[in-house]
Symmetry: D2
Amino acid sequence: MTSIDIIKAPTSDPADTAGPLHTLRQAGFRVSDLLAVVGKTEGNGCVNDFSRGLSAAVWEPLIPDDAITVFSGGTEGVLTPHVTLLVADRAEHPGYDRGLVAATGRTRVIAAEELGRAAQVEAVRASVESLVGKLALRTEDVHLVLVKCPLLTSTQVSSCRDRGLEPVTDDTYESMARSRLASSLGIARALDECTDAQVEAALEGSQQVWSRRASASSGAELADCHILVLGTSEAASNPLRAAHASMRDAIDADTVVQLLEQVRAEGGTVVQVLAKAEASPDGQIRGRRHTMLTDSDLQSTRHARAAVGGLLAGLVQDTAIYVSGGAEAQGAPGGGSLTVLYRLSPR
Amino acid sequence: MTSIDIIKAPTSDPADTAGPLHTLRQAGFRVSDLLAVVGKTEGNGCVNDFSRGLSAAVWEPLIPDDAITVFSGGTEGVLTPHVTLLVADRAEHPGYDRGLVAATGRTRVIAAEELGRAAQVEAVRASVESLVGKLALRTEDVHLVLVKCPLLTSTQVSSCRDRGLEPVTDDTYESMARSRLASSLGIARALDECTDAQVEAALEGSQQVWSRRASASSGAELADCHILVLGTSEAASNPLRAAHASMRDAIDADTVVQLLEQVRAEGGTVVQVLAKAEASPDGQIRGRRHTMLTDSDLQSTRHARAAVGGLLAGLVQDTAIYVSGGAEAQGAPGGGSLTVLYRLSPR
Amino acid sequence: MTSIDIIKAPTSDPADTAGPLHTLRQAGFRVSDLLAVVGKTEGNGCVNDFSRGLSAAVWEPLIPDDAITVFSGGTEGVLTPHVTLLVADRAEHPGYDRGLVAATGRTRVIAAEELGRAAQVEAVRASVESLVGKLALRTEDVHLVLVKCPLLTSTQVSSCRDRGLEPVTDDTYESMARSRLASSLGIARALDECTDAQVEAALEGSQQVWSRRASASSGAELADCHILVLGTSEAASNPLRAAHASMRDAIDADTVVQLLEQVRAEGGTVVQVLAKAEASPDGQIRGRRHTMLTDSDLQSTRHARAAVGGLLAGLVQDTAIYVSGGAEAQGAPGGGSLTVLYRLSPR
Amino acid sequence: MTSIDIIKAPTSDPADTAGPLHTLRQAGFRVSDLLAVVGKTEGNGCVNDFSRGLSAAVWEPLIPDDAITVFSGGTEGVLTPHVTLLVADRAEHPGYDRGLVAATGRTRVIAAEELGRAAQVEAVRASVESLVGKLALRTEDVHLVLVKCPLLTSTQVSSCRDRGLEPVTDDTYESMARSRLASSLGIARALDECTDAQVEAALEGSQQVWSRRASASSGAELADCHILVLGTSEAASNPLRAAHASMRDAIDADTVVQLLEQVRAEGGTVVQVLAKAEASPDGQIRGRRHTMLTDSDLQSTRHARAAVGGLLAGLVQDTAIYVSGGAEAQGAPGGGSLTVLYRLSPR
């Protein structure tokens, strides 16, 4: 059970560690306190997003062995490249009835032929359950499970076939969706939000099952899954809190406003918003056609991040938020999971 | 002075006239009533956006000789391709102290060497003044001047040089911005919002002058400028009204909410929102870096439309709105002009 | 059996019919002589390529009822937008032992649920056989079967599902590949190049079967398949000839050079080159990695057209050639079908 | 005077150093022998190409202090990501009348306001002259000067203005062209290919001056210019040779074939080809329109690399070649400089 604090810092480019580390130190923490570096980097967020790889290359050697990185590409529109640093907070914060806690871990390497399939679901499920257990959290006190998971490159697709095995897809961009789906189902299963049968159906295309607390992002810069579990625990005492919901669709301002009002009602200040966004799979938003799925120049995840990022940044009045594209089983179809981290006023 | 009504209809593709014409007839109007077809089409909104050209090719032969088309490309993110049909409304609507009126016109052809320069400013100014005069409007009663203006293709740049003349730029995408700027300065000048000296400075790069009522969009599908002037007149009586403002930046939700509250306070229902959006030229939004101007895969106008479209659609709860990219002299730098058309309750 | 002539004309933009029609008249032909307008237009060649739709919108009303249009989008790199006009040539050209002949036709409308499946294969096969029969050609005298076929938009995917039917894919870009594949298998079957069992296997993913004479292109601008069969017939007498081959891969200059040397050996002059190009599905060219399938910013068909177009234009010394992307069952995997049309010297 | 050898190795991704270093060792060299790592990486080759930055981040810590990296982004079409390793070759190769030699260096940091202007020209000129002097080469024996130079990001444009200085352009993509131009003029001046007055005119837009031996590439991953000079010297003895030319336009296969025939005539085997490519600035290739400058979805440098890369790979029968986009003053307008490195047969 690790009580945490959260520091947010803009980055001047994907290789910028100096700026965030300065902010970290100013906040009274050291690199050895880092549990996770969760960044938005300015690539396309798709298969060939090397901004993620560059950030991983500069951060990985700096952080503790058991800390993780999660770099989500794509800062379309108004979004600001930045990192959210989660640190172990060993200071006393008396007077709070609970506190935000976190645990991080990794699955084993996901083989190319396992990606997007039951084996990936199972690996993520096992890791999430282990981390929830480590935090001694009731599943209802988990507010966010953030996963960074691998994808399939052409090379991996080919090597898979050379071994006589068939990958889940040979479309590299589509492999990102399949990986996010499998990770999210692993989360949903670990949090008792669905059954094994529902997982199976979801892997076959059913869109009935989803978790409001799952946020998965895929990338070529890793071969295993990096996992962060965030929850509130009565065993901790700190001013950080979390609330979560699911946006019903990409223009669901009401849900966002309600969550923000809840924060305000508790006297809280928003520290970070983490949202998933996607193009509604049926090509429509409230009965009106959108064109995200027929735009061959611009992937739908880029469209979705830009639009939902614009809405959230306007509502929260902050551009340094974590909006990630591709919300398979992460919130309602066409919508997405939404977590707000906030800080209660000092008491 | 033409009292107008406004009909909004989604389109199934850029060549779709049947759907909108059906809606027009159901509303009790005929094609001969059309003053303007203002559409959002699903191309990239940039130089090679042939969705605009396709819409123009199918609509131009249908509409009255003195009606105009304005097709603005780009329905990034949640935006829905649609047309806004402005029709002359000859019905009596007694009991209103004023009404929304409109006039449309065209400038002469803008030569390639004139584009983005004083000659274009002057041509637009003269046309706008003439239309405002025709409507017998005080300039303060004008709520929107919408302009569709030409751009420079490679062929035009070359032919210009072959004639020994230098175009304002040889970057075809940049020519769109220059054309929007010149048109907008023409509007600002016609509405007495700036001096000739300020126009000159603005053409040289000064960002001091802008109009909250200007909305200009450029395209390869025309050689002159199409102009629509919208205002409220005491000489008319109908339930349509307009309000306008300028967004301070791309996340300025407050200004939008205020305008919507004003509409609500008057008992109005939003009919259409017309907004301009752009990437802040200094690369920042409220002191935080954005990446719209360093993304060589995706033009900044596409980013801006997606983000501001996402915000506005969420606030208005409608995806069939007119959000156009590139806001040079159209509202504050980094923000954009914003006009809301609304309908008062029957009385 | 229609003896034909071929006129090639550049276009100033996708809506340009005036230029080509002027060239047509100068060559001594009339619009009523047109059998087919085969164009390269300057869109992205993908789902949202409205340059094709614009060209179709301006050409379709002009041409005879039984003539067809085939607009293939994408003039990446050095390629020039142009049209190739195939006209019925009723003049006498004595002294030739044979001549180039052509026939055109259309299939019925391909329903969304049929696209990419056996029903589309069968519809194309039947039409091709009928056209080959009409020309009284031996299958070995057929040098090119050019097909323009439909694709699936989001709207079609959704309406298909609303009817309880599953489309072959819900990825709109992928639907283009499936449609090209089905059309090409229909051609291969009609030309006795494969068995029904091989067609079935190919629809399931086998890449064993392909035709060196098939060239299929998909688009949103039509609902049926437009088909052109070109061959040489001893019943005709004209100076036009055709030769075909398959490029082994995207850098197979040898095959191109051999074909061009054959033309030269016969004293011929190249009139037009029609080639298909694709990213090698295994992610490699001669054992070296290519990145066309991992580039999420730029579809692989655009990459392939640009590269193969660059090679062919350099070898033929002409940029107004027909290079089309996506070569499923059209020539060897990673390569593509290649047809050269040429004119013998007057005798 | 450093006699060199050249090792070429494919890379599995931009972070791959293991593969090339293995190849280096197999060839009998050590990391300490490295003079330069010249790579093609798989990003977009434009402003936000982080594949270059990632390669620089992993290679820079490995190589000797006075060695340089040059990473050129963009492997469109058939091109293979790879590195060309230039190493000091201390072995004896008796029996050759000359040998290929190289020297590398760096300019001072180029300030944002200097970029694309006379100050950058001068800095490059001075460094090139110094390196040519160090190699004791006659300018006619220089076959290639390769430069990697900086660009302007939004942040740099803004900070420049904040200091009251005006950057050469505020378009970040355009800044790449300006930087390449200035570097190339510095090369041309150092090689006595032009006068100061011609440099001045070229900075103002004249396209009269260019060098067949200049190859400049810009990127955000460095602030100074990295420079490599390659030539043949009678003071060295090794089997490597170089030949250079300028392609007249993007389909100038003749010039390429002539150079390759010259190599063959000498009994040489091609080791590497380095070419610059660009969209012809007048929008035409041999009088026919191209669309590279009106495609707002895809930058013209990407088009040009794909097309010229396709041609060269086909002619050389190798996809691991160095084709770089944007040929301002590097070969004829619309064409580009071309250098072939080859190895004579053992004697």
